[in-house]
């Protein structure tokens, strides 16, 4: 049996460089896919609240499909299914080096569905009397949405939103099955690369675990502070 040796397998070159690169990629993935998911979730919400039946159905279908489908097979479909289908249907090759984009799209699709669902619950929790008040003041429907409904909805569901965004950060580890170029691997991908080189899993895995614990705590702290601020405003208004 070998001894556990963090100095050799984690804190030595080139492994530390790989892992730090992985950490930065994890951050990039978390932030970009989180923003993507927020935008997507917002537009799906608009669709679900739309007057047009078509958009309502579309939004509802999106949420039911992507909420109830696991992310790993979804990523496999995006990585390997889409290029093949694309080639067969268009006769042209799917553009090269889209793995990272596809990964971000997959993460956003998954998280977006949850965010839309959470935001809808928030919108439904806004008192109908407030809409009435807005209408009496002569505000347009758009202004009512922007000025009254959305801000309050976000405040009400802020904790659920933050926990989903943290979950999204953790989901970036699913990139383990994504064929990324070596410099784009996230922290778990780099850890498994080290494991492939050195035949030892414990040290790089523990490092990746620490990174994710710290990320969850730091992101959690920041987002929770924001959520608490938002909630305080709800209670202050009430």
């Amino acid at each position: 049996m070998k001894s556990v040796d963090f100095a050799k397998y984690v804190f030595d070159e080139p492994y530390l460089g790989w892992l730090l690169r992985g950490v930065s990629m994890t951050l990039v993935m978390a932030v970009v896919s989180g923003i993507g998911a927020a935008i997507l979730g917002f537009w799906v919400l608009r669709g679900e609240l739309s007057r047009w039946r078509f958009f309502r159905t579309l939004g509802g279908a999106y949420v039911t499909v992507f909420r109830n489908v696991p992310i790993l097979p979804l990523l496999l479909l995006l990585m390997f299914g889409v290029p093949g289908v694309w080639l067969r249907w268009t006769g042209r090759e799917f553009p090269r080096d889209f793995e990272l984009v596809m990964l971000l799209v997959g993460l956003s699709l998954n998280t977006g569905a949850y965010l839309a669902e959470i935001l809808r619950a928030g919108v439904q929790a806004v008192s109908p009397l407030q809409l009435e008040a807005g209408r009496t003041l002569g505000l347009s429907p758009g202004a009512i949405r922007r000025k009254i409904v959305y801000p309050q909805a976000i405040r009400i569901v802020a904790p659920a939103l933050t926990s989903r965004l943290i979950h999204n950060t953790k989901n970036s580890t699913m990139a383990l099955i994504v064929p990324l170029p070596l410099h784009q691997l996230e922290v778990l991908g780099q850890a498994s690369r080290i494991a492939g080189e050195t035949f030892t899993w414990i040290e790089p895995l523990c490092f990746a675990a620490c990174v994710h614990l710290v990320l969850a705590l730091v992101f959690g702290q920041a987002l929770n502070r924001w959520a608490r601020g938002q909630q305080a405003r709800v209670e202050g208004a009430a």
């Binding site: 499909v65 696991p70 479909l77 093949g84 580890t173 899993w201 994710h212 614990l213």
Partner: protein, 251 residues
């Protein structure tokens, strides 16, 4: 191509090699595969995780303020709460993929026990379920009006009877939709076990795809649908109970 055999493989698994079946472990877990194994692992994880989560949740419950307790008892309870909180925060901070990999790679070097992958899966997902469940249990008990406790005491109900007859049923009713959502999450996330060679549906799907790469999209479609259908049915059920809860509360 023989789609019937592939579909059967995806749903029920492939016949295993006689040499790879380990007599120390229940055969039905080792010889099933595909969606059946996914469901089995989900089922066992929910049961074991349920026990763990209830325990953790009860340990993490907020301390009742006014009751008279000895210093020792308060100390023990506080310590247990601290430990349980630390455990829950630690496991919750880990992505499920990392949790699965840790459960797969650590037991032998650390403890010297060889655990077959399906047990690794059940273990990892029991932890996962337990930790999230403890949160649900805690907030379920939090949702109970503290006034009830005074009412119970005034009526002279013994604490045990109060817990089992009043607190628990109310908390369970409040927890129901969250529990169903947790079951859906666990069911979906078992797909990560494909990374450690558990012959659940994603793993078998990938082996099927290896033989028929032209049908990647098709096989993946079958996999996604077989996750989607049970998950959607369950979530419909959850939203119905949620509506029921909502109605109950407004009344």
């Amino acid at each position: 191509m023989n789609w019937e055999t592939h579909l059967r493989g995806l749903m029920l698994g492939y016949p295993p090699l006689p040499e790879s079946v380990n007599r120390d472990y229940p055969a039905f877990l080792q010889t099933t595969g595909g969606l059946a194994l996914t469901l089995l692992i989900t089922f066992f994880s929910l049961i074991f995780g349920g026990a763990l989560g209830t325990l953790l949740g009860l340990l993490r419950r907020d301390a009742p303020k006014e009751t008279r307790r000895t210093l020792l008892r308060r100390g023990v309870e506080g310590g247990a709460r601290l430990l349980a909180n630390g455990f829950v925060e630690g496991v919750r901070g880990l992505p499920i993929m990392l949790l699965v990999l840790l459960c797969y790679y650590l037991p032998y070097p650390v403890l010297g026990v060889r655990i077959p992958p399906f047990l690794v899966g059940i273990f990892a997902f029991s932890l996962y379920t337990g930790v999230y469940l403890s949160e649900i249990v805690r907030s379920g008990f939090r949702s109970i009006d503290p006034g009830l406790r005074y009412a119970g005491r005034t009526l002279g109900l013994p604490p045990r009877i109060f817990f089992f007859k009043v607190e628990l049923p109310l908390a369970l009713r409040a927890m129901k939709p969250d529990l169903i959502n947790l079951a859906i999450t666990v069911f979906k996330d078992t797909s990560t076990l494909a990374m450690v060679g558990v012959a659940e549906i994603t793993y078998i799907g990938r082996q099927t795809m290896a033989a028929h790469p032209k049908d990647y999209a098709l096989v993946l479609g079958v996999i996604l649908i077989s996750y989607w259908v049970p998950a959607t049915l369950l979530s419909l059920f959850a939203s119905r109970t949620e509506k029921a809860r909502f109605k109950m509360e407004t009344l």
